[in-house]
Symmetry: D2
Subunit: 349 residues, 4 copies
Amino acid sequence: MALAPCFASDNYAGVHPAIMAALAAANSGPAQAYGADAVTQAARARFKEVLGERAEAFFVFLGTAANVLALQAMTSPHHAVLCASTAHINVDECGAPERHLGCKLMSVDTPDGKLTPELLRPFLLHLGNEHHNQPRVVSITQATELGTVYTAGEIRALADFAHGSGMLLHMDGARLGNAAAALSEGQECELRHITADAGVDALSFGGTKNGLMFGEAVVFFRPELAREFPFIRKQGMQLCSKMRFIAAQFLALLEGDLWRKNAAKANAMARLLADKVADIPGVRLTQPPQTNAVFAALAPAVIKRLQTRFAFYVWNHEENVVRWMTSFATTEAEVEEFAAAVRQEALKG
Amino acid sequence: MALAPCFASDNYAGVHPAIMAALAAANSGPAQAYGADAVTQAARARFKEVLGERAEAFFVFLGTAANVLALQAMTSPHHAVLCASTAHINVDECGAPERHLGCKLMSVDTPDGKLTPELLRPFLLHLGNEHHNQPRVVSITQATELGTVYTAGEIRALADFAHGSGMLLHMDGARLGNAAAALSEGQECELRHITADAGVDALSFGGTKNGLMFGEAVVFFRPELAREFPFIRKQGMQLCSKMRFIAAQFLALLEGDLWRKNAAKANAMARLLADKVADIPGVRLTQPPQTNAVFAALAPAVIKRLQTRFAFYVWNHEENVVRWMTSFATTEAEVEEFAAAVRQEALKG
Amino acid sequence: MALAPCFASDNYAGVHPAIMAALAAANSGPAQAYGADAVTQAARARFKEVLGERAEAFFVFLGTAANVLALQAMTSPHHAVLCASTAHINVDECGAPERHLGCKLMSVDTPDGKLTPELLRPFLLHLGNEHHNQPRVVSITQATELGTVYTAGEIRALADFAHGSGMLLHMDGARLGNAAAALSEGQECELRHITADAGVDALSFGGTKNGLMFGEAVVFFRPELAREFPFIRKQGMQLCSKMRFIAAQFLALLEGDLWRKNAAKANAMARLLADKVADIPGVRLTQPPQTNAVFAALAPAVIKRLQTRFAFYVWNHEENVVRWMTSFATTEAEVEEFAAAVRQEALKG
Amino acid sequence: MALAPCFASDNYAGVHPAIMAALAAANSGPAQAYGADAVTQAARARFKEVLGERAEAFFVFLGTAANVLALQAMTSPHHAVLCASTAHINVDECGAPERHLGCKLMSVDTPDGKLTPELLRPFLLHLGNEHHNQPRVVSITQATELGTVYTAGEIRALADFAHGSGMLLHMDGARLGNAAAALSEGQECELRHITADAGVDALSFGGTKNGLMFGEAVVFFRPELAREFPFIRKQGMQLCSKMRFIAAQFLALLEGDLWRKNAAKANAMARLLADKVADIPGVRLTQPPQTNAVFAALAPAVIKRLQTRFAFYVWNHEENVVRWMTSFATTEAEVEEFAAAVRQEALKG
């Protein structure tokens, strides 16, 4: 099976050329290890420009670690982390949060992958009771695993709820750029609007899914969370010795809003794909695409035939829903080729 | 302070040009994530060619994780890991082994960073006694943190001792290439001679210190250790989504024995440096350099002045011993410049 | 508030006189610590008589530890434990399982606190996928937290399902005696019928809730689970130095089926209470009592007034369901006094 | 082998009659579980009277847990606990501290089991360096595992050192009573003199070795350490449901200074034994007994013959040093019988 066109995941994509160029440029002679180098310092300063002066950014290798270590800075083992049942931390990290935090994840079913104060209120019933894990963090994913997006107002409401109940708000921003791009219709949505300004306390800032080779950032907006984080990161096996090579990628991603261009491209390709398949008999879009994923219900036989030619995942085996995911590297021609194939196979039934 | 010439650590070096080229070449369109891609498969097969058919290689991001996760595959929390008191796992990983394994590290002082069966035998006294952690793994570093090297025979003796006592042998090979290069005088030492063939059960195969941007390999020589490792790696926050970019680097490192060229170059530069400073009054080499580190005792004032111009670490503050470390990127000119500076400062006293 | 009559929990009761006598008798001069004494050996042998030759019993201090350490012997951190959402391990242990095992608990809603193969089958979807915790243990509670009871056939079906899917079956038997007593109508149910003979692999054998001062037993029916357990127990902070004082209690509990008398008494008192309140207007029994708990829906005001006079818990705040729990120490007179009070308060409305 | 006379350990002894009486008295009808009962409240208040108003006491089942959970309240996983290499937490707890804290224990050899600021100062070298565990707690044992005793002044010096370096002081007081009794010559040493008043921040207050059936207390002298401890204890599997039965024992132990009588008796018996064997040819006391342990060097053959008749442990196999331990239950007649046997066997050679 040729992999292009590929709609499996945005981490099947390669590395954006500007990122590759930044990596090459960073490779100029020796530099201090473990983040004491000038590139890392510049990248950390750039995060403050983008996300506000309180933003303390730390680089790690991958998204699971960004989530787990950010949460570790916010919790003790007798705490609980509240999340949607579809959350990546709950479903796709092989229990890394429970293993490393010692905490319980308390998950709640949602219609669209999005938490609300109403959904979370019942978890407060046992506050102060030593027999039960104590809710300490609300963790949301932006954009969600279902491709939906929280507005700045929705985030603020969750932050207020969390803070009002002695909790903190964590955002898994593996696809934060896609969310910001999606929220930019009409008026540009800056990254800080949906993070620091909306009350987020800690952010996993995704890079890999938006064109990096590797690397994510943990960003804290409260100094007390950042204070011990260098030790948490080192003991958490995420202190990169040649850190400049993560930092250089982030500098490039934030340069000239490359993050937004990449994300907007991915989102646009998803919309295009949705448009192209929306009228195909036997194809039912289960929800309008807000970011870079298209969810569609198809006959099992059609799914099976398409998967012999193209890489993509079945999202819900019981309801025969597939996920088609686009990336910064997806082209219009690829969307058209794939949409044509979907039409062809669907019509066969 | 300009960083070149730089004798701080081999991880201050950048990326070898052949590795950079391999990274660029691997960036050609989409590929399966999480190691299901062709490059990763090729690299894993290449490890079998180099280290023997039993070798099962798994890629991770960094050396601390390679050590910790390899040890996790070999232990339960009530076990103990026996190591030299100077071992990286004991001293330089912020307690990551204890934190992630739950085990106790039992360390022993050595004259040269090298373990022997005689040094380890006293740890067997409490075998079977539930009040004490049970020794399960002997972990050695090759080359050691003191720059010394185990011969194949010494490793075999440790493997026999370990296996005869119900234990396994782990090798932290962060600088395995430097050791193999050092052991190649007269007759070439192949990597398998000092790993699989000498009885090693699990190996942390270093990349970053020998010219890679990032990436290490965990290699198991027993199938039962490899069986559950995909889960250990994922839960251990070390499953790289765009794994081809680690694999491609290792393919290049193993291609045409680039690993040996890089390591031999680093070793040669250390020997050259030792030669150049050996006769300087006030400079005492504490041991002959076997690999890519030179250890020298100097007057504190001399150390202080040199450190204003060059990056390097004080190894032993009580005895005023410094460590000068070379890498694949160190040049003869840099060694000469630095040796001249040492001479100049030492003569001032 | 006087505590008698008390329907709060069976662990509000004191210690059965025969147990107190056994404790006094065990206090005769010195004895080996940590279980090497004769009383402990006798108690372990007695467990083999009661539960079969394969039964390897280990004493611990409390039920949470019995559950957690039994599960630890059966799992690695990347595993999952499947349980009912009402399970004690899931709800009432402050996350001790996640903290100590590292595993994820995967819970499922049930109508009556009882698992079935049908309810569990969906959890097998991701077997072998490194991104997800791997189901390894099915954990059931006998009797359940809802007071319901698994028949031997139901347990056998779960054991067959577990074993057929590469899993093991754990039973939280905090109230095992109450279950056996409940299953003894017509023909006597022996403890082995619903444990070893029904395919259970590991059992938490409850003592405290059935008349002991403290102490539970972990019983394994597979030698490979027992092998390392002495270390797990010691490191798990559950190795009692004066262990004879737990063992002596269990010897007394198993002597002349005291366990059954105590449990049957508690069950009978629950039935009596249910009978006495069944016809009270405004009191609705939500299920027939199978063991020693009565669940009833009452008006909030009635609950509040009753709680000023008697100790008991609200089980479900949303539906105003209370739990009234009896013990070996509950008397008919206490039941009558309490039932009369319920009637009096309920009639006030 | 008959166990009396028994010099193996003070936990081979049974339960003091006054403690047994207190247990029986506490068994009067139902009481709130988990420490909400009146006996527990009284015992906690009694601790404040004995140790000062700041003392917050929490009951747990056993000494290993008292140590581990006290330390857990004081540390994060990237911290280190400094202790003597002979410390119980370092040697005799099967790695429970590392497993449950995630921390590294950094141990130092001592001549007599006692730490000093001078011995600890070198551990401060890497403060603030993310590559190394950060020293956070100094843990001392009173009396030490070698039977030696810290004076109040020595404890104060360690407390000042710890606090001056951003650390806290923990005392493992498994044999605190023996220490206080030993320090009472001339003027009575109150428990608070060598704990709260000397700067101790957290104390493991031993009960089992001084006549209890089971039960230890964790006592904090800083409110911030106590705040979350109910959750730490519950998740740490140490919340006793029928807690009154631990509390009642402690009330009895503190009543009329029973603790001191028991401890003084044990100490006196050790002194008597030392006196009786001091002049035996072939018996060498390696140190004067300060508390309830006698350490003596004997010929291996003599040790072997004595062990066929009496229970005791070899403390140092290389130097043929045995430990003879007395308890509150040891009688003069037992000491005389044993001393006579030692003389008889030693004279045989």
